[in-house]
Symmetry: C2
Subunit: 159 residues, 2 copies
DNA sequence: ATTAAATGTGACAAAAACACTCCTATTTGG
DNA sequence: CCAAATAGGAGTGTTTTTGTCACATTTAAT
């Protein structure tokens, strides 16, 4: 009944990325270090976010990743389901043959309603809002890294 | 992000038990067969419900289990947390050192709110209601077994 | 062209969780 | 004492999780 580390890391990475201006490029190893994520593991997660159109990646020297979709259009649910697959509270909600028709029951209905509510809540805030709230509270926290980043931004911000 | 089979089986068993009058005794093997639960597995789950005061068990010949708490006082959340431990959507909600204070973040708050909502929903209906709804829809389903049960009930209903 | 620096990806592996099974108590009515 | 029921610890095979590693690919700069 828990998010896996894959989802957790994806959320951390997205919150980090979204706390900088759109267009800023990041190296995966930088994201990993700043957010306590195993570098090699993050390298398996980021490409999924790229394929989903959330991030864009650039290979080669001075490459990296940056936001493709605007943070106001990205929600936690979106990120979680991108990296972990569709969320399902109970196996019988996946649509398999786990639940026989005979056992379609009142508890099943409760699961459906609960799951629906969760999805609403996890898609009720955008990363723009989340990142804003976060940086308002901790604007001192990454402040010294902003300089590095703006320098890098000017180098890579070519489109 | 899913209920385990332990929780699923516990819910099935409770829904089954609560669809009969309070005081009715059931053998574990009977519950297992009627609800597609591996017998040996259910034997590891039932004792937890007994220790939590939800069920009562009777050893020895013509023993079994029956409701101890009234079904109107039992909720799905109660059953799930009894057999699976406290529900936590994210490791950082367990209270461990998973989440550093520095990373207390806006996503964390969203987790808290979502988890709270889930708990509200899963404790918003009692098994009395759930069993009633269920039997109204499928009162034909276990009807032929009611006879067996009432026979057994008269034998064991000694308190 | 070469090279260095970045991401992409498939294979592999250790560890943990899950979903049981098995065996041996222990209790209880007859 | 025996048969029938639950109690519970130990063990086991499978799957999932959480990575690691090696190698391939792409790209900018020299």
């Amino acid at each position: 009944m828990q998010l896996t580390m894959t989802g957790e890391y994806a959320l951390r990475a997205m919150l980090y990325i979204c706390s900088y201006p759109m267009g800023t490029f990041f190296q995966i190893s930088d994201i990993a270090i700043k957010n306590d994520i195993p570098d090699n593991f993050l390298r398996k997660i980021i490409p999924r976010l790229c394929k989903a159109g959330i991030l864009r990646s650039q290979r080669g020297t001075s490459g990296g990743v940056s936001l493709l979709k605007h943070s106001k259009e990205i929600t936690p649910l979106h990120v979680i389901e991108t990296v972990e697959g569709e969320m399902a509270l109970n196996k019988c909600l996946i649509g398999s043959d786990f639940c026989s028709k005979e056992r379609w029951c009142s508890v099943h209905i409760l699961w459906c309603e609960t799951q629906q509510k969760i999805k609403e809540m996890l898609s009720g805030k955008t990363f723009e809002e989340l990142a804003k709230t976060n940086s308002e509270r901790f604007l001192h926290f990454h402040s010294h890294k902003q300089n590095n980043k703006s320098q890098k931004k000017s180098k890579n911000n070519k489109e």
